[in-house]
């Protein structure tokens, strides 16, 4: 229809589901990742280490967030060649990051045939106003959030999975805790709310009413919710799980530490046995040096505040 005459279909049918990959199939993979750890890797060798440690997926990157922070400059999508090599090396799902609003980077990632795209604030923004219209893609997206309103706006744009933003590359869990507590706190508030109050609440958090109501009915976000941004130890990972997340992203925490293979395995075990302090104590022993942490003072750039 589009392009064949003067009548253009509004939004290219964006808000209707495509036959080939309905929303449930997109969310389905995220559901299969629940209770797992997704690790940032920069080459095929690291991807193999992550797979051997029991990661449920890997995020293919050129630089881990800690290096992006240290080196500065514009951070973009990784070289597709690198992502292909990583995909070749492992059997677990492979994710990759696209800049916020950069839908062509997302098209390229879809063409490579990876499993998930992370529209990430860790990379430099391509569009300050708009995110990618994720309904236009067959590939599923994961997006960051700091609060419930932001999460539901991303879901309305087509995100099939949500992660907290935290503060990537700092090895400091404080922001991730703040964001998880904010989302969970708002959901608890919403659950106790009278149906009449939901309209105003939706307006207040600037989120679509139908998704707010659905969240109230489900008692949780309508998609899988992971924690990300600052996880550096097994205890951090278990903390995120006990706060109610479905799984954990670990960025710089693994491969910026003294013994990546061991730490990766410990974090995977900590996420599975998050409620068992004895196992947590056991896996936390003798992991070597953790990544160098960063205290969040005014001089540290906040990636999380880059998008709304």
């Amino acid at each position: 229809m589009a392009g064949s005459g003067v009548v253009a279909v509004y939004g290219n049918g964006a808000l209707t589901e495509t036959k080939q990959s309905p929303f449930s199939v997109k969310v389905g993979l995220a559901q299969m990742l629940r209770g797992g750890v997704i690790m940032d890797v920069v080459n095929a060798e690291q991807a193999r280490v992550a797979e051997e440690a029991g990661a449920c997926a890997v995020m293919a990157l050129e630089r881990v967030p800690a290096d992006i922070r240290a080196q500065g400059g514009v951070a973009r999508m990784s070289d597709p060649q690198l992502i292909k090599e990583i995909k070749q090396a492992v059997t677990i799902p492979v994710m990759a990051k696209a800049r916020i609003g950069h839908f062509v980077e997302a098209q390229i990632l879809e063409a490579i045939g990876i499993d998930y795209v992370d529209e990430s604030e860790v990379l430099t923004l391509a569009d300050e106003e708009n995110h990618i219209n994720k309904h236009n893609f067959r590939i599923p997206f994961v997006c960051g959030c700091r609060n419930l309103g932001e999460a539901l706006r991303r879901i309305r744009e087509g995100a099939a999975m949500i992660r907290t933003k935290g503060e990537a590359g700092t090895g400091n869990i404080i922001e991730a805790v703040r964001h998880v507590r904010s989302v969970m706190g708002d959901i608890r508030l919403l659950r106790n709310m009278d149906d009449d109050e939901v309209f105003t609440f939706a307006k207040k958090i600037a989120a679509p009413y139908d998704l707010v109501l659905q969240t109230k009915q489900l008692g949780r976000l309508p998609v899988v919710q992971f924690a990300a941004g600052g996880v550096a130890t097994p205890a951090d990972a278990a903390l995120m799980m006990q706060l109610g997340c479905d799984g954990v992203f670990v960025g710089s925490g693994v491969f910026k530490s003294g013994d990546p293979a061991r730490r990766a395995r410990a974090i995977v075990q900590a996420v599975t046995h998050y409620n068992d302090p004895e196992v947590l104590a056991e896996v936390s022993c003798g992991l070597g040096e953790a990544m160098v942490g960063l205290n969040l003072n005014e001089k540290v750039e906040r990636f999380a505040n880059r998008s709304e």
Partner: protein
């Protein structure tokens, strides 16, 4: 109230427990070998099979799982669980992965390809319908799914899925992940062998509980379920409703 164990290392165990709850059955999470002693039947959920195998190895679960299967206790594997139960699996990671085994078949891990090739399909399920009633087809959700390449003589095939409909998907994904071309137009996606049940798709992601009640009946655990389940089966609108639903969560 009967109790069913659900292997809770990673993956969709919450969804299985929720599905069991809808049938009035309690599901308990199994993470350690000794917890298997308290349950009479087990569901191995979907997830990443490599991850689940790694965690099972680290916590020494494989001997206990093999013993569980050997004793003839009912076990149902979905997706990754199917790979666990198979005697032979192809397409594994470098170095292979641990399997529980017991089901006489060969499974191709990740047969359908990456997430872009994930799909939903209405499967014809005569055996399940004769036992549970309801519509003739079941909405099968295939997520980076495996498929069963061949089965031994004792294995009963419960469902097949046409692969021809995916061939256009394969070609559209820029020649990525070329796999061996199957001359057959259908692959096996659900089987039963004695007390072992295995599905390549994810019944736990739909609101249609028939596979779960089938498994419970197989386990011979549900006393009054036959009446209540069939009455649900008559009401087809309940199954139709779920088409555009968001996925099932706890």
């Amino acid at each position: 109230m009967t109790i069913v164990g659900v292997l809770a290392l990673q993956g969709s165990f919450n969804e299985h427990i929720a599905a069991l709850r809808r049938l009035g059955v309690k599901g308990v999470e199994i993470r350690k070998p000794e917890q298997l002693l308290n349950v009479a039947s087990l569901i191995i959920p979907g997830g990443e099979s490599t991850t689940m195998a790694k965690l099972a190895e680290l916590h020494n679960l494989f001997p206990a799982l093999r013993e569980f299967v050997r004793m003839g206790k009912p076990v149902w594997g979905t997706c990754a669980g199917l790979i666990f139960l198979a005697n032979k699996a192809t397409g594994q990671k470098t170095g292979g992965q641990g399997l529980v085994g017991g089901l006489d078949c060969t499974v191709h891990r990740n047969f359908f390809g990456s997430q872009l090739q994930s799909f939903e399909s209405e499967l014809s399920i005569p055996e399940l319908v004769s036992s549970e009633g309801g519509p003739e087809t079941f909405r099968g959700v295939f997520i980076r799914a495996p498929a069963i390449l061949d089965v031994g003589p004792e294995v009963q095939v419960l469902a097949r899925c046409p692969v021809s409909s995916n061939s256009n998907l394969h070609s559209s994904s820029s020649g990525e992940g070329k796999k061996e071309k199957d001359s057959e137009s259908k692959v096996i996606v659900a089987v039963r062998q004695g007390n072992l049940l295995a599905t390549a798709f994810h019944p736990e992601l739909t609101s249609d509980n028939r596979w779960h009640s089938y498994f419970l009946k197989m386990a011979g655990d549900v006393e009054e379920s036959s009446s209540s389940i069939e009455s649900i089966g008559v009401n087809n609108s309940r199954f139709e409703r779920s088409k555009s639903d968001l996925p099932i969560f706890i």
